[in-house]
Symmetry: C2
Subunit: 110 residues, 2 copies
Protein backbone atom coordinates (compact mmCIF):
# COMPACT_ATOMS: atom_id res chain seq x y z
CA UNK A 1 0.00 0.00 0.00
CA UNK A 2 1.36 3.36 -1.01
CA UNK A 3 2.48 5.56 1.79
CA UNK A 4 0.00 8.30 2.39
CA UNK A 5 1.15 11.53 3.91
CA UNK A 6 -0.98 13.71 6.11
CA UNK A 7 -1.96 17.32 5.57
CA UNK A 8 -3.32 19.89 7.97
CA UNK A 9 -7.06 20.35 8.04
CA UNK A 10 -6.78 23.91 6.77
CA UNK A 11 -4.76 22.83 3.72
CA UNK A 12 -7.22 20.03 2.99
CA UNK A 13 -10.24 22.31 3.25
CA UNK A 14 -8.57 24.84 0.98
CA UNK A 15 -8.06 22.17 -1.70
CA UNK A 16 -11.65 20.95 -1.35
CA UNK A 17 -12.98 24.52 -1.59
CA UNK A 18 -10.83 25.21 -4.63
CA UNK A 19 -12.22 22.08 -6.29
CA UNK A 20 -15.82 22.96 -5.49
CA UNK A 21 -15.38 26.49 -6.81
CA UNK A 22 -13.89 25.11 -10.03
CA UNK A 23 -16.80 22.68 -10.42
CA UNK A 24 -19.26 25.53 -9.78
CA UNK A 25 -17.58 27.79 -12.33
CA UNK A 26 -17.48 25.02 -14.93
CA UNK A 27 -21.16 24.22 -14.47
CA UNK A 28 -22.13 27.90 -14.54
CA UNK A 29 -20.40 28.09 -17.92
CA UNK A 30 -22.15 24.87 -18.99
CA UNK A 31 -18.85 23.24 -19.87
CA UNK A 32 -18.45 19.48 -19.63
CA UNK A 33 -15.47 17.90 -17.92
CA UNK A 34 -13.99 17.06 -21.30
CA UNK A 35 -14.52 20.61 -22.50
CA UNK A 36 -12.70 22.21 -19.56
CA UNK A 37 -9.96 19.57 -19.53
CA UNK A 38 -9.28 20.20 -23.23
CA UNK A 39 -9.18 23.97 -22.69
CA UNK A 40 -6.72 23.55 -19.82
CA UNK A 41 -4.56 21.05 -21.70
CA UNK A 42 -4.95 18.28 -19.11
CA UNK A 43 -6.69 14.91 -19.03
CA UNK A 44 -10.26 14.39 -17.82
CA UNK A 45 -8.96 12.17 -15.01
CA UNK A 46 -6.72 14.97 -13.77
CA UNK A 47 -9.61 17.44 -13.81
CA UNK A 48 -11.71 14.99 -11.79
CA UNK A 49 -8.97 14.78 -9.18
CA UNK A 50 -8.76 18.59 -9.05
CA UNK A 51 -12.52 19.00 -8.62
CA UNK A 52 -12.49 16.37 -5.90
CA UNK A 53 -9.90 18.35 -3.94
CA UNK A 54 -7.06 15.86 -4.24
CA UNK A 55 -3.72 17.19 -3.04
CA UNK A 56 -1.53 15.47 -5.60
CA UNK A 57 -2.18 17.53 -8.71
CA UNK A 58 0.24 20.15 -9.98
CA UNK A 59 -0.57 23.65 -8.86
CA UNK A 60 -0.15 24.83 -12.43
CA UNK A 61 -3.01 22.61 -13.60
CA UNK A 62 -5.19 23.71 -10.67
CA UNK A 63 -4.57 27.41 -11.19
CA UNK A 64 -5.08 27.10 -14.95
CA UNK A 65 -8.53 25.52 -14.67
CA UNK A 66 -9.41 27.97 -11.89
CA UNK A 67 -8.45 30.83 -14.17
CA UNK A 68 -10.50 29.43 -17.07
CA UNK A 69 -13.69 29.18 -15.00
CA UNK A 70 -13.23 32.57 -13.38
CA UNK A 71 -12.23 31.56 -9.85
CA UNK A 72 -10.47 34.51 -8.25
CA UNK A 73 -7.05 33.80 -6.77
CA UNK A 74 -5.68 36.16 -4.13
CA UNK A 75 -7.69 39.23 -4.95
CA UNK A 76 -9.29 40.44 -1.74
CA UNK A 77 -9.36 43.92 -3.24
CA UNK A 78 -9.42 44.79 -6.91
CA UNK A 79 -5.70 45.27 -7.31
CA UNK A 80 -4.18 43.15 -10.07
CA UNK A 81 -1.97 40.30 -8.98
CA UNK A 82 1.12 42.03 -10.29
CA UNK A 83 0.61 44.80 -7.71
CA UNK A 84 0.28 42.24 -4.94
CA UNK A 85 3.49 40.61 -6.13
CA UNK A 86 5.22 43.97 -6.04
CA UNK A 87 4.03 44.72 -2.52
CA UNK A 88 5.01 41.34 -1.21
CA UNK A 89 8.43 41.51 -2.83
CA UNK A 90 9.00 44.90 -1.23
CA UNK A 91 8.26 43.43 2.19
CA UNK A 92 10.52 40.43 1.53
CA UNK A 93 13.31 42.80 0.52
CA UNK A 94 13.20 44.41 3.97
CA UNK A 95 14.05 41.12 5.67
CA UNK A 96 17.48 39.47 5.84
CA UNK A 97 18.36 37.36 2.86
CA UNK A 98 19.24 34.39 5.03
CA UNK A 99 17.73 33.26 8.30
CA UNK A 100 20.66 32.30 10.43
CA UNK A 101 19.72 30.54 13.63
CA UNK A 102 21.23 32.17 16.69
CA UNK A 103 24.03 30.14 18.17
CA UNK A 104 23.22 28.45 21.43
CA UNK A 105 25.21 29.79 24.34
CA UNK A 106 28.17 27.53 24.80
CA UNK A 107 28.44 25.99 28.26
CA UNK A 108 31.92 24.83 28.76
CA UNK A 109 32.16 25.15 32.55
CA UNK A 110 34.58 22.27 33.26
Amino acid sequence: MAKQRTYSQYAQEAAVLMGEQIKLGRKQRQWSEKNLADRAGISRTTLQKIENGEMSCAIGSVFEVATLVGVKLFEPDNLPLSKHIEHTRDKVALLPQRIKAKKKAVRDDF
Copy 2:
Protein backbone atom coordinates in the same frame (compact mmCIF):
# COMPACT_ATOMS: atom_id res chain seq x y z
CA MET B 1 14.55 19.23 -24.34
CA ALA B 2 11.49 18.61 -22.26
CA LYS B 3 8.25 19.84 -23.68
CA GLN B 4 7.10 22.89 -21.85
CA ARG B 5 3.45 23.72 -21.63
CA THR B 6 2.07 27.22 -21.41
CA TYR B 7 -0.05 28.76 -18.71
CA SER B 8 -2.17 31.86 -18.68
CA GLN B 9 -0.61 35.00 -17.25
CA TYR B 10 -3.13 35.13 -14.42
CA ALA B 11 -2.32 31.57 -13.31
CA GLN B 12 1.40 32.28 -13.48
CA GLU B 13 1.09 35.46 -11.43
CA ALA B 14 -1.00 33.64 -8.85
CA ALA B 15 1.71 31.01 -8.40
CA VAL B 16 4.42 33.68 -8.15
CA LEU B 17 2.39 35.62 -5.58
CA MET B 18 1.74 32.46 -3.58
CA GLY B 19 5.47 31.74 -3.54
CA GLU B 20 6.37 35.27 -2.50
CA GLN B 21 3.82 35.23 0.32
CA ILE B 22 5.19 31.90 1.54
CA LYS B 23 8.73 33.28 1.49
CA LEU B 24 7.60 36.38 3.37
CA GLY B 25 5.79 34.34 6.02
CA ARG B 26 8.77 32.02 6.47
CA LYS B 27 11.17 34.91 6.91
CA GLN B 28 8.82 36.71 9.28
CA ARG B 29 8.89 33.55 11.40
CA GLN B 30 12.68 33.42 11.04
CA TRP B 31 12.56 29.87 9.71
CA SER B 32 15.22 28.61 7.34
CA GLU B 33 14.31 26.75 4.17
CA LYS B 34 15.34 23.50 5.78
CA ASN B 35 13.25 24.28 8.84
CA LEU B 36 10.05 24.92 6.88
CA ALA B 37 10.69 22.04 4.50
CA ASP B 38 11.09 19.66 7.45
CA ARG B 39 7.91 20.96 9.09
CA ALA B 40 5.98 20.48 5.85
CA GLY B 41 7.42 17.03 5.17
CA ILE B 42 8.94 17.97 1.81
CA SER B 43 12.46 18.40 0.48
CA ARG B 44 14.34 21.71 0.46
CA THR B 45 14.45 21.54 -3.35
CA THR B 46 10.68 21.28 -3.52
CA LEU B 47 10.29 24.26 -1.17
CA GLN B 48 12.64 26.29 -3.37
CA LYS B 49 10.49 25.51 -6.39
CA ILE B 50 7.35 26.52 -4.50
CA GLU B 51 8.83 29.83 -3.33
CA ASN B 52 9.99 30.54 -6.87
CA GLY B 53 6.45 30.15 -8.17
CA GLU B 54 7.03 27.01 -10.24
CA MET B 55 3.86 25.42 -11.57
CA SER B 56 4.95 21.80 -11.25
CA CYS B 57 4.67 21.24 -7.51
CA ALA B 58 1.78 19.39 -5.91
CA ILE B 59 -0.94 21.64 -4.61
CA GLY B 60 -0.90 19.72 -1.36
CA SER B 61 2.72 20.71 -0.72
CA VAL B 62 2.02 24.32 -1.62
CA PHE B 63 -1.05 24.61 0.58
CA GLU B 64 0.70 22.85 3.45
CA VAL B 65 3.65 25.27 3.54
CA ALA B 66 1.26 28.19 3.04
CA THR B 67 -0.74 27.00 6.04
CA LEU B 68 2.40 26.64 8.18
CA VAL B 69 3.55 30.21 7.52
CA GLY B 70 0.10 31.71 7.95
CA VAL B 71 -0.81 32.55 4.37
CA LYS B 72 -4.59 32.90 4.15
CA LEU B 73 -6.28 30.82 1.49
CA PHE B 74 -9.75 31.83 0.29
CA GLU B 75 -10.83 33.88 3.25
CA PRO B 76 -12.02 37.27 2.03
CA ASP B 77 -14.23 37.44 5.07
CA ASN B 78 -13.64 35.75 8.39
CA LEU B 79 -15.81 32.72 7.73
CA PRO B 80 -14.01 29.43 8.22
CA LEU B 81 -13.26 27.44 5.05
CA SER B 82 -15.80 24.79 6.01
CA LYS B 83 -18.57 27.41 5.70
CA HIS B 84 -17.31 28.43 2.27
CA ILE B 85 -17.30 24.80 1.21
CA GLU B 86 -20.87 24.45 2.42
CA HIS B 87 -22.01 27.53 0.53
CA THR B 88 -20.29 26.47 -2.66
CA ARG B 89 -21.67 22.95 -2.47
CA ASP B 90 -25.17 24.36 -2.03
CA LYS B 91 -24.76 26.38 -5.23
CA VAL B 92 -23.38 23.37 -7.10
CA ALA B 93 -26.35 21.31 -5.97
CA LEU B 94 -28.72 23.75 -7.71
CA LEU B 95 -27.11 23.07 -11.09
CA PRO B 96 -27.66 19.97 -13.26
CA GLN B 97 -25.47 17.05 -12.44
CA ARG B 98 -24.26 16.74 -16.02
CA ILE B 99 -23.76 19.40 -18.64
CA LYS B 100 -25.27 18.03 -21.76
CA ALA B 101 -24.39 20.05 -24.83
CA LYS B 102 -27.43 21.13 -26.78
CA LYS B 103 -27.70 19.23 -30.02
CA LYS B 104 -26.96 21.23 -33.11
CA ALA B 105 -30.00 21.86 -35.22
CA VAL B 106 -30.06 19.23 -37.90
CA ARG B 107 -30.21 20.60 -41.44
CA ASP B 108 -31.53 17.90 -43.66
CA ASP B 109 -33.25 19.98 -46.35
CA PHE B 110 -32.68 17.69 -49.34
